[in-house]
């Protein structure tokens, strides 16, 4: 195999002057042709709407009739209107509650399920992954019923055990942790599977070497597993964070943003501004603020994980 490559090499090397660019151009054109269908879809459904939304964010558009240029006033409103600022706070709280908890739960279970000593690993993996397959709206409806203080099954069981949890979805303090918990239940299986894939990539020899050097389970985890999982971890953190910043479905179904707007996330507000109040300008501005927040947080994480990777190498 190696010999064949070596033999062929001279044929591929220096081409006559002027020939290469032409060939390259031909190749580029072919490549472009292959990419064209995907590009058309991306431009039509992602880039063009994004550009339109950016333009709309500087207007008072409703999607109909005359729209006026309002400059930065939509953005100014986002950062001065207490009600909207509160939604940014709610989304931040959601993200802070969701991302680390989902991550730790997923990693812990991935480590457990990656242990060959555990029986019925396949069953547990499937069982824990299953909630991810269910639509979030359906899961949210199911949980709303389970948690209903009067007719809910979960509250009924808990009452039988002498535990009164009250109406958690209408409690301004407990509503947010509850919708976050449902989101975690729904999605950690996905992150867990990614972690398991990452764990299986780590060579067994590293653990053997660490054990010989006298490392215990904790040191093996911090000095072998975590550094080796760095890329996976970065991916999961960013993915989980983006999902958290875009929290909408289960909030819409379970609390409608209440009680007293305590679970009103940015995307809930965006939906209300855009589709209830028909203020697409404001909704677009909100989406760009969210985009900026996502971008900044993602960049910070890329930097952080990038540096860690360099340090460990």
């Amino acid at each position: 195999m190696t010999a064949t490559t070596r033999e062929r090499a001279p044929y591929r090397a220096p081409a006559p002057l002027g020939g290469r660019p032409l060939r390259r151009r031909g190749l580029a054109a072919k490549a472009f042709l292959f990419m064209l269908p995907a590009l058309v879809i991306l431009v039509a459904f992602v880039f063009w709407p994004m550009a339109s939304a950016l333009r709309l964010s500087f207007t008072n558009a409703s999607g109909f009739g005359i729209e006026e240029w309002v400059g930065l006033s939509n953005y100014a409103r986002i950062f001065t209107d207490q009600r909207i600022l509160a939604t940014l706070g709610n989304t931040a709280l959601y993200t802070v509650l969701f991302t680390p908890t989902a991550l730790v739960a997923a990693l812990a279970l991935a480590l457990l399920l990656n242990n060959r000593l555990l029986i019925a690993r396949g069953f547990f993996r499937t069982a824990l992954f299953l909630p991810f397959v269910v639509s979030l709206a359906v899961a949210a409806f199911a949980w709303t019923y389970l948690l209903d203080p009067q007719v809910g099954l979960l509250t009924y069981w808990l009452r039988a055990l002498g535990i009164q949890i009250g109406n958690v979805l209408q409690d301004p303090v407990l509503a947010m942790p509850t919708v976050v918990a449902v989101a975690i239940w729904k999605s950690f299986g996905f992150y867990m599977v990614i972690f398991i894939a990452g764990l299986q990539e780590i060579p067994e020899s590293l653990y053997e070497a660490a054990t010989i050097d006298g490392a215990g389970p904790w040191r093996r985890f911090t000095h072998v597993t975590l550094p080796q999982l760095s890329n996976t971890l970065a991916f999961v953190v960013i993915f989980a964070m983006i999902a958290a910043l875009q929290a909408f479905d289960q909030i819409y179904v379970m609390t409608g943003g209440g009680p007293y707007r305590s679970t009103q996330s940015v995307v809930m507000e965006l939906y209300q501004e855009g589709f209830k109040k028909l203020d697409l300008g404001m909704a677009s501005a909100l989406s760009y603020v969210l985009l900026a927040a996502t971008l900044i947080l993602s960049l910070i994480q890329f930097r952080f994980f990038g540096r860690r990777e360099k340090d460990t190498l």
């Binding site: 939304a53 999607g63 009739g65 203080p149 009067q150 209440g258 007293y260 969210l290």
Partner: protein, 419 residues
């Protein structure tokens, strides 16, 4: 740079999805032959079939106008109307929840129908309170296709068990009966409640409006918030006390949770819409429907309303054709047919309950339709107004001070009205 691009792409795709709407196409109008109109409505049940039949009968009754109906869920109509009108493939006539009419009118998506009201022979017979919900800033933008007062649906079996023979007619009787119907109040968590009284996102958003009206209060008066009036403070304090001290209803309920409580037999009464009759039937509940008991200032109920409007897409000929259809729709025969088909009271005042007696629910609702008032007519930002009311009522029922809560809410309402 690559990382920056990758990050940008990942975040961008995700965020862009949040704003992605969807649009629906509809048949474009022909320019030759009869005037053709498209009509979007959200009557998805048996009511929709009756409406479609009325439209089909209208199409058959003459050969100059042809209307095609499209049924879509109300929410889909709301989400897609403006974008489809922009793309010129929207409807010529659209039916909408009445409280959404002002916001679409304010965006220029609907046409004024003042000429219809000044010229139509049917106008004099229409329920004036239903017509009131079509008026925005002095002009009419729609015609009513539905106007039903909120009413109380009650569980007759539980009433009998509690020894209550007649349905209450005043608030005091109502609360007293609700207390009798509440089982296990002493334990702190009753097993059965006298009433399911939602404190936010109520049925048709009208439960609290109904109670405020009953004591002579209101939410808005024209362009002014009157939410923190003395009358409303009394009303909220009265009901907060009944719920808090009397435990007649759980707190934190919304309209859907109230429906669940009633249909599971855990609440003896609920303030609801006409659909509760079929919900009760499905759950084998022997039910009755009655007017909301009269408050200190008399009987009153907020109405759930649906309007049909002519969109800006329709040209003069189409608008005239739509008005011809409205005339046909409001004829006494069709108004009666539509009332029976939709399960809502007739939109004309000259269709008595005896004319719709074949459906007892419609007959009961027809008897009380005179007390109904439209919810927030002419208010474009009804979302923020209703959110402010919800916050005040929910906090008051959880033990907050009604006067202070209404004062804060009233400021938010005024702010929303001023936008």
């Amino acid at each position: 740079m690559k990382k920056l691009l990758a990050t940008l792409a990942v975040s961008a795709v995700g965020t862009a999805l949040a704003l992605t709407g969807c649009s629906n196409s509809s048949t474009a109008a022909d320019t030759s032959g009869p005037v053709t109109l498209t009509f979007w409505h959200g009557y998805t049940e048996a009511d929709g079939k009756v409406l479609d039949q009325i439209v089909a009968d209208f199409n058959k009754s003459q050969d100059k106008i042809k209307i095609t109906t499209t049924t879509k869920p109300w929410a889909v109509i709301g989400d897609t109307l403006l974008t489809s009108l922009s793309a010129k493939n929207g409807p010529d006539i659209v039916a909408l929840p009445a409280e959404n009419l002002p916001v679409y009118a304010s965006k220029g998506a609907l046409q004024k129908l003042d000429d219809y009201y000044s010229s139509s022979a049917q106008n004099a017979s229409l329920n004036p309170r239903a017509v009131e919900m079509e008026k925005i800033g002095g002009d009419y933008y729609g015609v009513p296709t539905g106007f039903v007062p909120l009413s109380v649906v009650y569980n007759k079996t539980l009433f009998q068990k509690a020894g209550i023979a007649a349905f209450p007619t005043t608030w005091d009787e109502w609360v007293a009966d609700a207390k009798k119907l509440t089982v296990g109040a002493d334990s702190g968590t009753p097993q059965q409640y006298g009433l399911a009284l939602p404190d936010h996102a109520t049925v048709g958003n009208g439960v609290w409006a109904s109670l405020f009206y009953g004591n002579g209060g209101a939410i808005v008066d024209g362009n002014k918030s009157v939410l923190d009036s003395q009358a409303n403070q009394q009303t909220l304090a009265y009901w907060a006390k009944a719920v808090h001290d009397g435990k007649i209803s759980p707190t934190g309920l919304d309209g859907i949770a109230s429906d669940k409580l009633f249909s599971s037999g855990k609440a003896a009464m609920e303030i609801g819409g006409p659909w509760m009759a079929s919900v009760a039937k499905e759950n084998n509940i022997d039910y009755g429907i009655a007017a909301i008991p009269a408050g200190p200032k008399g009987p009153a109920a907020s109405a759930i309303g649906i309007s049909a409007a002519v969109t800006s897409q329709a040209d003069a000929a189409k608008k005239a054709a739509a008005e011809k259809f409205f005339d046909y729709f409001f004829s006494k025969d069709n108004a009666t047919k539509w009332s029976l088909g939709s399960g809502w009271p007739a939109l004309r005042t000259d269709v008595p309950s005896s004319a719709v007696s074949s459906n007892p629910v419609v007959a009961s609702l027809t008897d009380i339709v005179g007390t109904a008032r439209p919810l927030l007519p002419g208010v474009a930002d009804s979302t923020d107004v209703l959110t402010a009311v919800d916050e005040a009522t929910q906090k008051a029922l959880s033990g907050g001070d009604p006067a202070a809560l209404l004062k804060t809410a009233s400021q938010s309402v005024q702010q929303a009205l001023g936008k």
